[in-house]
């Protein structure tokens, strides 16, 4: 094993199609026009010395080390800023160049500490490498005099010296080692797009400064790590590298946080992770990362991880540690007993969107073939199930239409009900990059998310609608496009059903859908809405990105269809730069849906009533799959309360915290006789479990994740599972205990079974993934290397289907008792219910959930910033601290649900999407008032959770 080495070409690739040929050091090289001489040289295998250049950012030309000579031209231009041209003859190593470079290096080193042996960058320092490359043997200037290196000069304190900034939990800034190459500043601007860093001062006084000479933690820095990655010295260094030392081997793997699915190199020493470095060849992230994927992996070795299986008779008993064999036997016996007593359909399971495709496939296989029913569901139920329904109905497949690269070709971006800078940060950086280059932005969101206005980004329009009125707004956008004749008739006639279009067009054209007519309902200024519609229809390539603010509503599926209508009507489907792009929440929520995790669908989105599909699995598995749909999560809980559903196997999902109406979830779980939780930690759901099976992290297993762009990425094992087994092994052992004859020895064999049974995965093998890095499904005979963009020459279903989208107000209404609307969201540093990120230093950015409330509403209630407030709805009440802001409009309050103590879902109701039962998280009528502290429920819950987490200590004699 060795480190995965990546070539740094010095400057970004040119996208030009015109090629030029030149000669560098006697070798001919052909490159796209616009390529720098530095990059052209590297392509020819010649490494020109450099310090301020790196291929993640544009050329800067400041270090004066990469100079070259060109025949027929005067001087010694910098190779990073000089473009390659036809016929140039370039020399990278001449007497003159050697002298200049040595002189430049000598100056650099004269103001740099010589503690190389004890320096954290030892072995990974570009300054050291360059000193070696130019043959620096002596520094004639000495180290006395003005410098940034020593705290004291001849006993007197040195004003130029600055102490290390260790405020960020994950990296340090040591100004003494800085060579002011600006790579960090440019990475922050160009790659991340936060503009948190700058160079303060001039000349010899120039220093890298977070914000206005602040500490990193206090500045706008979002801790994405781009600066650390860009730094050529030990100035910005991961604390883990300082602690552990340089890594000795690495493997490329996929992040287990959000649905962007970033590729990382897990850099290791033995089985210890030294650091996670974003991988440049990762097609989702292109070498970028966020604070979660880059740094927040410490949960994998957190002391809270449960490593031994546990069983208890009653949920009020303390846990008893048992052997794996005993745990499997117990579960098998219990499930068989329950099925014997209450019927075959009285048990079920939930697959995990955090586990691999292979693991998810096996869990649904266990349920369909082992339990003999279709009672399988997954967390997509509570996030993107409306996407599945809506896009399947309109386009014919239930997945995003583009790859992330597509955004580079977009002219108008519409972001609806998504907050990419917090929820999908790496995609947000790519989006912001495109926006800074001139693409226009329309934001449809009740809250002023960061994208609306952030450095060098300003939304052309922000439609700040009332929560719950998405359908009215999107249909009204269509109204403007149709009535003003801005639709793409040619596209519609070619690709869609023209009659259905006409029916839809007459529907949206009716005056009640005009922006003026809906203003009172939605709170959106009609003129702003009209301008947004015109911009989207006429601004060039239009792409829609949306999130849970679209799906988690009573009309979630209707909004998805309204979005699809909009894309079809404007001809924005089937090429680069356009499309309908659901931003998926969890790392493998796309994959878990693909793998047949829904109770009505077998892998590949084929309904269980389809005999020919059942037949494939029946034959292979030797069973008879039921032809009726199974229960969805909320239906399982209802059935549990009714007494007909008694046992559940939950892999990697915390329904008690993440699902709405906590009290109902608790009542459902409490009514079951065998709840099996398979997880890393004793999560909230485990408070109601009878069996706990320890889970493994993404670092401890092989497999694949499928991200929001349908990209199947490899997950590679870099350490042995602390609990002894990867999750797929646990599921397999459980299946064996239940009498199934499974003998997988590697997840690749599971993928082979997926490919064999599922047409859209027919071409996927681990060998192909090894060769290609990743592929996007469909990947089969027609598309052997996968499908970056869907519906290119026509829709998957044949003709695109326009659907009327009538706005129906949710029944969750405000009134005198509950006058405010609560909507929920995410924050950058925390992930989902926080089980992972709360167990890392990310808590430094977000220790608790806060209630955002407008000053007007706060004043009416006598609430000051930071006060404890009580928030209640028809479902329940909880308390948290207020944050007064103008991000939300009067009448709207907002919170996150990353912390279990907040219990935000005690508040949310059981209203759900009409088509999919996806809960209406985004609209709850509430009242807010002053409070003295935790609610009775919170106190009770806390006590119950504490009791429930007791683990019986075995006597030494046993």
């Amino acid at each position: 094993m060795s480190l995965v080495h990546e070539i740094d070409y010095g400057t970004p690739a040119s996208l030009s199609e015109k090629m030029v040929t030149l000669t560098i050091d006697g070798s001919e090289v052909t490159v796209p026009e616009g390529t720098s001489l530095m990059r052209a040289a590297m392509e020819a295998g010649i490494q020109v010395p450099k310090l301020c250049a790196t291929d993640m950012v544009d050329a800067f030309g400041s270090c004066r080390l990469c100079l070259i000579e060109i025949e027929g031209r005067n001087g010694t231009p910098a190779s990073c800023t000089t473009p390659a041209m036809e016929g140039l003859v370039v020399h990278t190593q001449t007497k003159r160049l050697k002298d200049i470079r040595k002189g430049v290096m000598e100056l650099y080193i004269s103001d740099h500490p010589l503690d190389c042996l004890t320096c954290a960058a030892n072995g990974d320092c570009e300054l050291q490498d360059m000193a070696g490359a130019v043959g620096l043997r002596d520094v004639r200037y000495g180290y006395e005099g003005d410098n940034h290196v020593f705290a004291k000069n001849e006993g007197v304190s040195n004003d130029r010296w600055m102490p290390k900034d260790e405020s960020n939990p994950y990296f340090t800034y040591d100004p003494a080692k800085c060579i002011v190459c600006s790579r960090c500043v440019r990475a922050c601007e160009e790659v991340q797009g936060t503009f948190a860093l700058t160079i303060e001062g001039r000349g010899f006084s120039s220093r890298v400064s977070p914000g206005m000479h602040e500490h990193f933690l206090d500045s706008e820095c979002v801790s994405c790590g781009a600066c650390v990655q860009a730094c050529p010295t030990a100035t910005l260094t991961e604390k883990s590298v300082i602690q552990i030392g340089q890594p000795e081997h690495s493997k490329v793997t996929t992040c287990a946080y959000c649905g962007v699915g970033c590729s990382f190199k897990a850099e290791m020493r033995g089985e210890e992770v030294v650091r996670m470095v974003p991988y440049k060849d990762g097609k989702a992230n292109r070498g970028h990362s966020c604070v979660k994927g880059r740094f927040a992996y410490g949960y994998s070795t957190h002391k809270d991880r449960i490593l031994n299986p546990m069983v208890r008779e009653k949920i009020t008993d303390p846990w008893r540690e048992v052997s794996w064999e005993e745990a499997y036997k117990h579960v098998a016996n219990e499930f068989r007993r329950i099925q014997y007593q209450y019927g075959r359909n009285s048990v079920g399971g939930i697959t995990s969107s955090r586990c691999t495709n292979e693991e998810t496939f096996l869990v649904q296989k266990l349920i369909r073939a082992g339990f003999g029913n279709n009672n399988v569901d997954t967390c997509a139920r509570v996030c993107h199930s409306p996407t599945g329904y809506g896009l399947k109905t309109t386009f014919g497949t239930s997945a995003g239409t583009q790859d992330f690269d597509s955004v580079e070709h977009t002219d108008v971006v519409m972001v609806i009900g998504a907050n990419p800078t917090d929820g999908h940060p790496v995609f947000a950086s790519r989006l912001k990059k495109r926006l800074r280059k001139g693409a226009k932005l329309i934001v449809v969101d009740p809250r002023r998310i960061d994208l609306v206005r952030s450095p060098h980004i300003s939304a052309a329009q922000h439609l700040q609608l009332r929560p719950g009125t998405n359908v009215a707004v999107v249909t009204s956008l269509a109204h403007v496009i149709v009535t003003e004749g801005l639709f793409d008739e040619k596209f519609i006639r070619e690709r869609c059903d023209w009659e259905e279009f006409q029916d839809w067009a007459s529907f949206v054209s009716s005056p009640e859908h005009s922006p003026e007519a809906i203003e009172e309902l939605t709170g959106v200024n009609p003129q702003t809405l009209r301008e947004a519609a015109r911009l989207f229809a006429t601004g060039g390539n239009g792409a829609i990105y949306y999130g849970l603010g679209v799906t988690e509503h009573s009309q979630g599926s209707t909004t998805v269809m309204a979005i699809a209508n909009l894309a079809m009507a404007t001809g924005n489907i089937g090429r680069k730069g356009v499309g309908v792009n659901p931003l998926r929440g969890q790392n493998n929520v796309q994959g878990s849906c693909d793998m047949g995790s829904f109770p009505h669908e077998l892998p590949g989105y084929r309904h269980v009533s389809d005999e020919s599909t059942r037949d494939i699995f029946d034959k292979l598995w030797g069973v008879k799959i039921q032809d009726e749909p199974g229960l969805r999560i909320p239906n399982m809980l209802d059935a549990a309360v009714d007494g007909t559903f008694k046992g559940i196997y939950i892999q990697g999902e915390d329904i008690l915290q993440s699902d709405p109406d906590t009290k109902h979830v608790a009542a459902g779980l409490e009514a079951m006789e065998c709840v099996v939780v398979h997880d890393l930690f004793l999560n909230e759901t485990a408070n109601y479990a009878h069996v706990f099976l320890p889970g493994s992290t993404f670092l401890e297993k092989d497999g694949t994740f499928t991200n929001a762009e349908r990209r199947i990425n490899r997950v590679r094992k870099v350490m042995s599972p602390l609990n002894g087994y990867a999750d797929w092994e646990v599921t397999q052992n459980l299946a064996k205990a239940m009498g199934l004859n499974w003998n997988y020895t590697h997840p690749s064999q599971v993928m082979d079974e997926i490919a064999l049974t599922t047409p859209s995965f027919a071409g996927v093998t681990y060998d192909l993934l090894e060769k290609e890095g990743s592929v996007q499904w469909p990947c089969n005979e027609k598309a052997p290397l996968g499908t970056p963009i869907m519906h290119i020459n026509g829709f998957a279903r044949g003709k695109g289907k326009f659907i009327r989208t009538e706005y129906v107000a949710t029944d969750e209404r405000t009134g005198p008792r509950f006058p405010l609307l609560l909507t929920t969201g995410r924050i950058l540093s925390q992930y989902n219910v926080g089980a992972q990120t709360r167990r890392t230093d990310n808590v430094m950015w977000h220790e608790e959930d806060r209630l955002e409330i407008h000053a007007h509403d706060a004043e009416n209630r006598g609430i000051r910033d930071g006060d404890w407030v009580k928030i209640n709805s028809r479902s329940g009440e909880t308390t948290l601290r207020a944050l007064i802001t103008d991000r939300v409009s009067p009448g709207v309050v907002y919170t996150t649900f990353h912390h279990p103590t907040t219990q935000a879902n005690v508040i949310t109701t059981d209203f759900s999407d009409w088509a999919t039962n996806c809960p209406e998280y985004k609209v709850t009528a509430v009242q807010v008032g002053a409070s003295n502290g935790p609610s009775d429920w919170q106190v009770q819950y806390d006590e119950q959770a504490r009791q429930s987490r007791r683990i019986k200590v075995l006597d030494a004699a046993e």
Partner: protein
């Protein structure tokens, strides 16, 4: 149950069926009933459909007229395989 949102499964099923009907009310009339039935056949587990038929037999069951019309095309659940 101690608060307003905790409804019985029957109440929820009526609510869900009516929600589906509400959507299809806005769709072309000739397909609406078939579409409601199709939706329920596709996504409702047999015991939910069984409960639905039990509700259907009750007076003043609160079901939308379109749901009642669709009921003819909703599949009666068969016995659960042992």
């Amino acid at each position: 149950m101690d608060s307003e949102s905790h409804k019985s499964t029957a109440t929820k099923l009526v609510y869900m069926a009516n929600q589906i009907a509400t959507f299809f009310h806005s769709q072309p009339k000739d397909e609406a009933a078939a579409a409601v039935a199709d939706h329920i056949n596709h996504f409702w587990e047999p015991r939910m459909r069984q409960q639905f038929f039990d509700i259907l037999e009750q007076q003043n069951n609160g079901l939308d007229a379109l749901v009642v019309e669709a009921a003819k095309q909703i599949r009666k659940p068969g016995p659960v395989p042992v």
